[in-house]
């Protein structure tokens, strides 16, 4: 309707959040990101972290992972991949499966809707915990 296009202005906080997220492969929560960045920038606000994580998710620059432990986790790797959740240590790990590449939207059997994509979570015991259980 009306010209509601929103111009995204530069922000040091957002840069810091995204840069930090790119250095981590453990898919941290907003709280973790906030705690870590607060050390360098004591004025940082938790609300700013949440707002920017949502914003970055909306523009597709990061991915939000909704796991089973209450808080959302975030992933700077937006390439197609799935995740593995260790039931023992609660670690979240990347799983790059050789899924068939398909045009979207596509159809799936016995279902009449159009599929834009999917995300899969595997769960079990991670390599590290397997070793610990044997010792």
């Amino acid at each position: 309707m009306s010209d509601t296009k929103q111009i995204m202005k530069h922000s040091k906080q957002r840069d810091a959040i995204f840069s930090f997220l790119m250095t981590r492969k453990d898919h941290p929560t907003a709280e973790t990101i906030y705690t870590c960045l607060k050390e360098e920038n004591p004025n940082l606000s938790l609300g700013t972290v949440y707002r920017n994580l949502t914003l970055l998710t909306d523009i597709g620059q990061i991915r939000r992972l909704r796991l089973s432990d209450g808080a959302d986790h975030f992933d700077a790797d937006t390439s197609p991949h799935d995740h593995f959740l260790c039931m023992r240590c609660n670690a979240v790990m990347d799983v790059h499966m050789n899924k068939p590449v398909r045009k979207t939207p596509y159809k799936i059997q016995d279902f009449s809707g159009e599929v834009e994509g999917s995300f899969t979570y595997y769960y079990g015991t991670c390599e590290h915990c397997l070793k610990e259980m044997c010792s």
Copy 2:
């Protein structure tokens, strides 16, 4: 350590919750279940609904679906199946895929942990919304 085995006693509230959930295929939230059952039993407490849903989930009698809309959804169908989320009307639908049956735990390529299982969420536009978009 100590003998902490917990005997599960019968409960009318739990029965009502499970029975109600079996009649629904739309994967309601705790709040929805509470509101519906409250009509017949005005004394019902929301905490009781939450406690029993968690309990039923723990013993594997129902499944908890953690979707992207804040509240958990519950499914009385524990047979292996996945779910489709309509991005337009937020409906949650069952998707029965012919996935390969595999013993668990199993291994997946390029990953050293042991997998107990997986759950997949598809997203897109449901049949009903597709029709609406054309009219």
